[in-house]
Every structure is written in structure tokens, then in C-alpha cells.
């Protein structure tokens, strides 16, 4: 009789299907768990973004740290292709970084003398396998003809118009909106970097000469890029109720005297931040031989 009968393969098929379903559920569940865990993976940089100016033929090395939120294994730190020709990360990999651990890295910018001038935007990101771990580090590299390399302090921007006119490196935090006459507005600060042929007189005499009319409040020797420099604090009184605080740093180097200035209005409540930003720039500046 040909009654209904089960296929001789029916039981194993059902059993197999069941196993597959269970396994699938396990895998899916595991996948969900993996995804949930991965979504918590994150790295924090000591600074969320870095903006540097590097002169053609120049180098700049910046220390930076990353801190992991989650356990990372076998990670690589890479710059995007736009930045890769100019930027290497040292070290570029870690076998593991446990959650909460911090790793020291160096961003090494190196620009050839014949590199195209311009602004290069990109990121440095941490990769684990074929996955990118947020957050990427935002990097802006400006390649100029200036014989120096600097880390642009946070909140300051490079004044591109002045650069285009062949002027000094001008950084400010007020979108170039100078008061008429060229004065820094309230709450603003600007930094100018230039150089002149080495004066053939004593540096102290040169400084006295160029700051004629200002009130020098203090001066001292400081180390800049491994060389002895003079730092002068002075005040300018240009109006009945308006005076400016300034810091000037003079760095003799070969046949050039490099000069770095900070200016802001006297009494500004952000004075300590301005001075801190300026000192950060001074501590990282490099001059192209």
C-alpha cells in the first residue's frame, strides 16, 4: 500500500533544519552581541583635531595620545591617502589596547621641497581588521613657502589672504575681522610670525629699536626649537582707553632672525588662554634649515 509515509530523509532533514535554526539563532545572537560590543568601541584623541602649517622642505613632529574605550586588538593607525604622502604615525600599530588604556603616538609631518603648496584635509583613523574605530582624528595640513612649521593653536585660523600676499604667517581667532586701522578686537588675539636678515647689531639693541614707544614690562631668555631666544612682554597704548598686551619672541638662526608676536587687548578675560596657546606654538615650532 502506498500510504503516506515519511521520506526516509525526512527525520534527518527536520533534525538538520532544527540544528541549523538553532545554530543560526546562536550565530545571529552572537552576531548581535558582537555588534553591540563593537558599537561601544571608540578611541579618544588628546585633541580631536590637529591643524599644522609646514613649510616646503620642513618637518614637524607632534606628540598625541589615544585612549581606548573598549578592548582593541591588532590595530593599525593610518592616515587617509590625501595625507599619507606627508604624514606618518609612529608607532603605526599596537597588538592590543585595553579599555581605558592610553597610547603615545607621534604625528610626523614631512614635506618635500617640491611638494605642491596648498591645504590638505583628512583624517587619521584606527583600524581593527577591516573596520574603522571611531573617532577619527581630523587633520589639516597647510603647505607653504614659509621656512617654518607650526602647530596652529585650537581656535586660531591661518589668514590665507595675508599668506597669498606674501606677508607673514598670521593666525587669529576672529576671522580676520580687524578693527579699522588693523587693531585686534575685544576678545581676539593674533599671532604673527616673520623673519628678517640677521641684524648686525646686538639683539638687545635691535629689540630696543623696534619697540621704540612701547612699554617693555619684562624680558627673559627662552629656548625655542632648541635655540636660545629672547622673549619680551610689552604694552602698546594707541588710544586714550585702549592698550594692547604683546609678547615678542626673537629667535636668531643662521642668517635670519625669526620673530613671533602675540597681541591682544589689555584686560582681556581670556588672557591666560591666549598666553597658553602662544606658548604651545612656541614649544612646537620648527624652522626649516
Amino acid at each position: 500500500m502506498f500510504g503516506r509515509r515519511s521520506s526516509p530523509y525526512a527525520v534527518p532533514w527536520i533534525a538538520g533544519a532544527f540544528v541549523l535554526i538553532v545554530l543560526g539563532a546562536v550565530v545571529v545572537a552572537a552576531g548581535v552581541n558582537q555588534s553591540s560590543s563593537d558599537s561601544k568601541l571608540k578611541v579618544n584623541w588628546s585633541s580631536p583635531s590637529v591643524s599644522v602649517l609646514v613649510g616646503a622642505g620642513g618637518n614637524l613632529t607632534l606628540p598625541i595620545t589615544l585612549t581606548s574605550q573598549g578592548n582593541l586588538t591588532g590595530i593599525n593607525i593610518e592616515a587617509v591617502p590625501a595625507l599619507a604622502p606627508f604624514l606618518t604615525i609612529q608607532p603605526a600599530s599596537f597588538s592590543s589596547v585595553s579599555s581605558g588604556q592610553t597610547r603615545q603616538l607621534s604625528l610626523v609631518f614631512s614635506v618635500a621641497t617640491n611638494s605642491p603648496l596648498g591645504i590638505y584635509n583628512g583624517t587619521v583613523h584606527v583600524r581593527m581588521g577591516n573596520r574603522t574605530i571611531p573617532q577619527p582624528l581630523e587633520v589639516t595640513l597647510t603647505i607653504t613657502t614659509n621656512p617654518l612649521s607650526i602647530l596652529i593653536p585650537p581656535t586660531f585660523q591661518l589668514n590665507g589672504q595675508i599668506s597669498a600676499l606674501g606677508g607673514p604667517v598670521n593666525l587669529n581667532n576672529f576671522d580676520n575681522n580687524y578693527m579699522h586701522g588693523g587693531f585686534v578686537p575685544a576678545g581676539g588675539a593674533d599671532i604673527d610670525i616673520t623673519s628678517v636678515p640677521m641684524p648686525q647689531i646686538a639683539l638687545g639693541d635691535f629689540i630696543t629699536n623696534e619697540l621704540q614707544g612701547a612699554v617693555i614690562t619684562s624680558s627673559s631668555s627662552v629656548a625655542v626649537a632648541g635655540r636660545q631666544a629672547d622673549e619680551v612682554f610689552y604694552t602698546d597704548n594707541f588710544g586714550p582707553a585702549l592698550s594692547y598686551r604683546n609678547v615678542a619672541v626673537y629667535v636668531p638662526l643662521g642668517e635670519r632672525l625669526h620673530k613671533i608676536y602675540l597681541t591682544y587687548q589689555a584686560g582681556d578675560t581670556q588672557e591666560s588662554q591666549f598666553l597658553s596657546a602662544f606658548q604651545q606654538l612656541i614649544s612646537t615650532i620648527q624652522f626649516t634649515p
Binding site: 607673514p168 580687524y178 586701522g181 588693523g182 587693531f183 647689531i201 629699536n209 619697540l211 594707541f238
Partner: protein, 351 residues
């Protein structure tokens, strides 16, 4: 380029380099003629443009040219009120609340010093670069106008400086300075009583009075300095008005030797110059000098007096600053004995 840097004797004497450049000793009258041709009220200040340009090493033609671009040489006051003498529209932003000058001469001096320290020092060395900061928007005609006026006067757009042939700065310290203040009534001596009228030989120079009189005397050793100067400027730093009001001053030429007060004198000690022993003087300038501003350098043009000393017309016994007013009027300057050498009196000489 000829370069010298030296010390003469024990004075701090700085000799600055000589350049071939846009410096023209005849520029002052040329500026006056040019401004007169523009019907400018600034005409007549050619010497101020020249001396300010020399002091700050800024081509005076540039300061004239900026006034031309900003206010048609002080004939158009759309931006800033005429009473402010602000032909350069400093701080203009719909108004000029912080930009009034007390005279065109004051404006010329301050704007010139600003061009030096805000621009030239920092590497803004061309008119377009200066324009980018000075006049950020709505200033399309600024560069061509400034350039036109500047070159009209013979300026070189590739060199905005104005270095005189040679420049000297004399700034004595406590060991060599000869400066002191005296007073007419009160004695600052511990032995006071029968010998009133003695000041102090300390870190300040007082001019003024409150019923009484305070004079300051200074004498610079001019040995080795040029026989003739195109400009000689006395610099004093005014640090206080003693909670009174600053006073204009008269400039006197001292006509008698006086720097022997530490050995001679009629007072009860030799620690000060007693009022009774003050030297004779002759008023040098008919007009009074303007009052200083507390917290700022105060300059006195003593070119004529310097040249009179150096050519032997008068012996150099120094100068005296005498107050115009003495009703709670005080000008307190630092002396050569002040601890911070930056603020001590100095004399700048340009050949």
C-alpha cells in the same frame, strides 16, 4: 651698510645702522607743501611727520598717504569727528570712540608708532599687505589711493621704512645719571626744620606742586655724540599724577653748573639738591609743553637745545622741567635710578 654698536664711557649708548634708502632730510617742507596743495588742515606738521618717521623708522610719506585715503588729508570727516583729529580713521566702526587725538601732531606720532609696531615689525611691509589688515572691507580704492599719494611724495613702494643715517640712544643708569627733583617748601631731609626746600635723589622726577613747586633737572653727557642732530628727543616715562592732574611744563636751559650738590650746598645735608642751591635757568621754549599722560612715554623735542649745546653756543648744564600749574598738579616720571632700566629717561639723537 655701515654698522656700529658700541658703548662710550659708562653710558648706555646705542648706535644704530646707517642705510641708503628713502630718508630725505628735506622731506618735512615737501610734506607741508603737498598738504597745503590739498587744502589740508594737517599742513604745517611736516616737521612732526618727519621726526615721528625718524623716531619709529617709518616713511612719513606713508602716514601722509593713509590720511589721504582715509579722510582726504583731513578734509572729509565722514568716518570720524573732526574734533578728534583722527584723519587716519583709527578704530572706526561706525564711530571713533577710542580714536580721538589731542592734536594732529599727536595723531601723527601715534599712527606712525602704530605702523611700526603693528605692521612693519611683524612683517607687513607692502601697502597691499598693510591694507589687508588696516582696511579689511569696502576699501577697494584704499591701495591705489595710498600708493598714489605715497609715490606722489617720492615714496618707494618697496621700502616703507625711514632709517636715518645714524641714530643714538643715551639712557644712563644709577651710576652715571644726573637727574634729580627739587621742591620749594617742604624738606624731605630728616634734619629738616631750619632748612626747608629739599627734594630727593631717588627713583623719580617730580614736576608740579600743590601751592609749593617741584622741578626736575636732568643733564646728559653728550661726549662722543654727533655735533649736529636732525632730531634730539628727550623721553620720560610718566607713571603717576599723584592723584592730582598732570600739568603742562616749561622747558628751561640750565645756565649754571650744579652737579656738585653731594659735596656743597647750604642745606643740613648733602643728600639732596636744596631749593636754595638750585642753579639759575633760562626759559628755552616760549610755549609750554603739553601735559604728559600717565602710563605713557612723554617726549620733548630738544633738537635746538641739543645743537646749541653741541655747537658751543651754550655750555651743557642740562635742562629743567618747570610746571605751568601747581594747584595739585603733578607729573611723576621715573629717574635714572629707577630699578627697571627700560623706564629710565633717555635721549634719542638722529644725525
Amino acid at each position: 651698510m655701515r654698522v656700529l654698536s658700541s658703548f662710550i664711557g659708562i653710558f648706555s649708548l646705542i648706535v644704530f645702522p646707517a642705510f641708503a634708502g628713502p630718508y630725505d632730510p628735506q622731506l618735512a617742507p615737501q610734506i607741508d607743501t603737498y598738504l597745503t596743495g590739498k587744502n589740508s588742515p594737517i599742513a604745517g606738521n611736516g616737521a612732526v611727520f618727519f621726526s615721528s618717521g625718524s623716531i619709529y623708522n617709518v616713511d612719513p610719506r606713508l602716514v601722509v598717504a593713509i590720511a589721504g585715503a582715509e579722510s582726504s588729508f583731513g578734509t572729509a570727516w565722514d568716518a570720524c569727528p573732526e574734533t578728534g583729529f583722527n584723519a587716519w580713521s583709527w578704530f572706526y566702526g561706525g564711530s571713533c570712540p577710542n580714536s580721538s587725538f589731542i592734536s594732529f601732531a599727536d595723531g601723527i606720532s601715534k599712527v606712525t608708532s602704530g605702523i611700526r609696531r603693528l605692521y612693519l615689525n611683524k612683517g607687513y611691509t607692502t601697502i597691499p599687505q598693510i591694507a589687508e589688515m588696516y582696511c579689511g572691507s569696502g576699501c577697494e580704492s584704499w591701495i591705489p589711493n595710498v600708493t598714489q599719494f605715497y609715490t606722489d611724495l617720492g615714496g618707494n613702494v618697496n621700502d616703507l621704512t625711514f632709517p636715518p643715517p645714524s641714530r643714538f640712544i643715551l639712557q644712563p643708569g644709577p651710576d652715571t645719571g644726573k637727574d634729580i627733583w627739587i621742591t620749594s617748601v617742604y624738606s624731605y631731609a630728616t634734619c629738616s626744620g631750619s632748612y626747608p626746600g629739599g627734594g630727593l635723589y631717588d627713583s623719580e622726577l617730580r614736576v608740579g606742586g600743590w601751592g609749593d613747586l617741584y622741578y626736575a633737572l636732568l643733564q646728559f653727557d653728550l661726549t662722543g655724540l654727533p655735533a649736529h642732530a636732525t632730531s634730539a628727543t628727550l623721553w620720560l616715562y610718566c607713571y603717576s599724577d599723584n592723584s592730582g592732574t598732570p600739568t603742562p611744563m616749561y622747558l628751561d636751559r640750565v645756565t649754571q653748573f650744579w652737579w656738585d650738590w653731594q659735596m656743597t650746598g647750604t642745606g643740613c645735608d648733602h643728600d639732596r639738591l636744596w631749593w636754595a642751591d638750585r642753579p639759575s635757568t633760562a626759559q628755552w621754549s616760549a610755549a609750554a609743553l603739553t601735559a604728559p599722560v600717565v602710563g605713557q612715554w612723554y617726549t620733548v623735542d630738544i633738537t635746538d637745545l641739543y645743537n646749541a649745546w653741541q655747537n658751543g653756543l651754550y655750555p651743557n648744564y642740562g635742562l629743567q622741567l618747570r610746571p605751568v600749574y601747581n594747584a595739585d598738579n603733578f607729573n611723576f616720571f621715573y629717574s635714572s635710578r629707577y630699578t627697571n632700566d627700560t623706564f629710565r629717561p633717555k635721549l634719542t639723537i638722529q644725525q
